[in-house]
């Protein structure tokens, strides 16, 4: 397969060595007694019209990474670059510019909409904050609702009058209000029923084709991620263990964790599913407060050797075109 055209186009957003530490506090005085590194040096880039999928199990740091991209969570170290310019610190002005270009859609369409605001008020709020005139905002709100497949006549209704799928569309309309270049989508379809999911995924793809948006698609559902992503990054305990073109990562995974993760996802096809070799990992993900030395996956890895406890494996290019962080890669 040849690389899609999008690989050669403009890089919109870069994450460079992002690190986030959260303090652990204990005792009566809530003294800082340690820290959890939720994200430990994550780097990737997203190009115009391209989707990068961020996958991993709970606690792997994928959502924290997504929030750092928007500076909703301040990175402890590392930086986010938009069109080559670092978004330094959290100055109000630079943040305002950043959020105009970078927006987020949250997982829970019930919690992420204000129940007391009409759809029109919700969708036009970003425009008001960014000084767009009322008449223009009204027109644009109607257009946006149309774009995401909602009836503009319903603009004066409240969130409770809509179903989950429709609410997620409202969230998408709000994120698009300022015509951003990049959308961070944090589990945008996981709360939705299967028959509704497909419609939202299709909508996201149509919008991308039409508006040239770049997506950072965060999800634990590996099937949806394969469908929508050009590039996939697999995270484990705060680090990217494998990153590369989606087809390569799914068809020839190089990191043992990727292999195990993919093998564990059930496929809705009885003959295929029953014939698959499943790698059942033993144990659970270790606590990020006390991650294993060396390779963080070694405690559950069937290939682990002495070197894995001593040396952190760096991301290295594999023949398939992806990068993997493993001393004994599969391919």
């Amino acid at each position: 397969m040849t690389a899609p055209a999008s690989y050669r186009t403009e890089v919109l957003l870069e994450a460079v060595d992002l690190v986030k530490e959260f303090p652990i506090r204990s005792g009566v005085f809530r003294r800082r007694s340690g820290s959890v590194q939720a994200v430990s040096g994550v780097s990737f880039a997203v190009r115009r019209g391209e989707t990068i999928g961020l996958v991993g199990e709970s606690g792997c740091g994928k959502s924290t990474t997504g929030r750092m991209l928007l500076h909703l969570i301040e990175p402890t170290a590392g930086e986010v670059r938009f069109k080559g310019t670092a978004i330094a610190g959290a100055g109000r002005r630079s943040l305002k510019t950043l959020r105009r270009n970078l927006q987020i859609v949250f997982q829970d369409p019930y919690a992420s909409l204000n129940p007391r605001m009409t759809v029109a008020a919700t969708v036009s709020e970003p425009m008001r904050i960014h000084g767009i005139g009322r008449a223009e905002a009204r027109q644009r709100t109607a257009d946006l609702l149309q774009t995401v497949g909602l009836n503009p006549e319903h603009a004066n209704r409240f969130p409770h009058e809509f179903s989950g799928g429709q609410r997620q569309r409202i969230g998408i309309a709000r994120a698009l209000a300022l015509e951003p270049d990049v959308l961070v989508l944090d589990e945008p379809v996981s709360a939705l029923d299967v028959s509704i999911q497909a419609g939202v995924v299709n909508l996201l793809e149509e919008l991308q084709d039409r508006l040239g948006l770049a997506y950072v698609f965060i999800a634990h559902d590996l099937s949806v991620v394969r469908h929508i992503s050009d590039t996939v990054a697999v995270m484990y305990l705060g680090k990217i263990v494998e990153i590369g073109p989606a087809d390569t990562v799914y068809e020839q995974p190089a990191h043992p964790y990727t292999k195990a993760l993919l093998s564990a996802v059930p496929v809705p096809d009885p003959r295929v599913e029953r014939a698959r070799q499943r790698i059942v990992l033993t144990g659970d993900v270790p606590s990020p407060a006390n991650p294993p030395s060396g390779c963080r996956f070694r405690t559950r890895c069937w290939k682990a050797a002495e070197i894995c406890a001593v040396q952190v494996p760096p991301l290295t290019l594999r023949p398939g075109g992806q990068q993997a962080a493993c001393h004994f890669p599969e391919a």
């Binding site: 709970s58 299967v194 299709n202 059930p266 096809d269 599913e273 659970d284």
Partner: protein, 330 residues
């Protein structure tokens, strides 16, 4: 072979401010020993209410009609004390949220022990031995230490396994698992499904597996029942359901799934138009009519279709079967 569980014309109706809501509507099925019946459907399709009705765990305000027979004995209308004797012994349940289902102030070991002593007279030593055996069976490492720990000291996957240990403590003939892996990460889900499969091989229990994940069903169920708006849409052996789905809803559902194992290069996902109906205002006739690509006015929106056996062991409820193509997922 005598079925373990036999459900006939089960209807469950709840009162609501907007009038009665029929959450389960004339549902009938059997489950045989050693068999896993998967019940799939979206939120509000009635799959969980069906399982709670079988266990007699619905609130009093629910009105239940029809019949539920466990090992030849009727269950509906039994006294609570009689049901308590069956629950946990002949019939047991694995819930979705293990943290909510386990009591936080008792050790995991004592809770599993209680499941045994509720139903059988055993010495303390015997019970302890059995609990250790169960913890080991469900793959909890180091049972002698874990037996004295509290639920919060267990990880999510271990709690789920502890709950399975409790459910199978008396080797029940019927195990009801309601979304047993939904709250778990995929690698842990694989471990838990593995445990359920091993246990079924050992005890020959019948399993009623309720889930919204068609991948899980494809891998573990022998037969599958698809529910829509509280009604049965289709009931068939797992391969027939996935490869020769007859009901338009089943077909739509299967087609809308993105696939992990192949690239549907640039293709759009199939989308079922519209929204699942509100149970308070169900459309007349077939509940799927407003979303169905094959519906015909004057037919589908008039009369409710009944579940018909189309080929041996393959049932579907649709007026229009035969007038459109059978299409499977593969």
């Amino acid at each position: 072979m005598e079925p373990v569980l036999s459900v006939r014309d089960l209807c469950v109706t709840f009162p609501s401010d907007d009038g009665p809501v029929r959450a389960v509507d004339h549902v009938s099925f059997d489950v045989h020993p050693g068999e896993t019946l998967g019940i799939v459907g979206e939120s509000g399709s009635g799959k969980s209410v069906t399982s709670l009705a079988v266990l007699g765990l619905l609130p009093k305000r629910a009105s239940i009609t029809g019949s539920v027979t466990l090992l030849g004995q009727p269950l509906l209308g039994r006294k609570e004390s009689e049901l308590r004797r069956l629950r946990g012994d002949r019939i047991a349940m694995v819930f979705q949220d293990a943290l909510a289902a386990l009591n936080p102030v008792f050790t995991v070991g004592s809770q599993i022990a209680e499941a045994i002593t509720e139903h059988h007279d055993r010495s303390r030593a015997e019970v302890r031995q059995r609990v250790l055996e169960l913890l080991d069976l469900v793959g909890i490492p180091n049972p002698t230490a874990r037996i004295n720990q509290y639920p919060h000291e267990y990880s999510g996957g271990m709690r789920q396994r502890a709950m399975i240990a409790m459910a199978i403590a008396n080797e029940p003939e019927l195990l009801i698992a309601d979304e047993p892996t939904t709250a778990l990460d995929v690698t842990v889900q694989a471990q838990v499904l593995d445990v359920l499969e091993r246990i079924q091989l050992r005890t020959n229990s019948a399993i009623l597996l309720i889930t919204h994940d068609l991948g899980v069903v494809a891998g573990t169920a022998d037969r599958v029942m698809v529910m829509y708006a509280g009604r049965q849409a289709e009931l068939a052996d797992v391969e027939a359901l996935f490869y020769e789905a007859r009901h338009p809803y089943t077909q739509g559902l299967l087609a809308s799934l993105p696939r992990l194992d192949r690239r549907v290069g640039g293709e759009k996902l199939h989308r079922i138009k519209g929204q699942p109906p509100s149970l308070v205002h169900l459309p007349p006739g077939c509940a799927f009519t407003p979303r169905c690509p094959h519906a015909r006015a004057g037919e589908c929106d008039q009369e409710r279709p009944t579940l018909v056996e189309l080929s041996p062991r393959h049932f579907a409820a649709c007026h229009r079967i035969g007038s459109f193509e059978t299409a499977g997922a593969a």
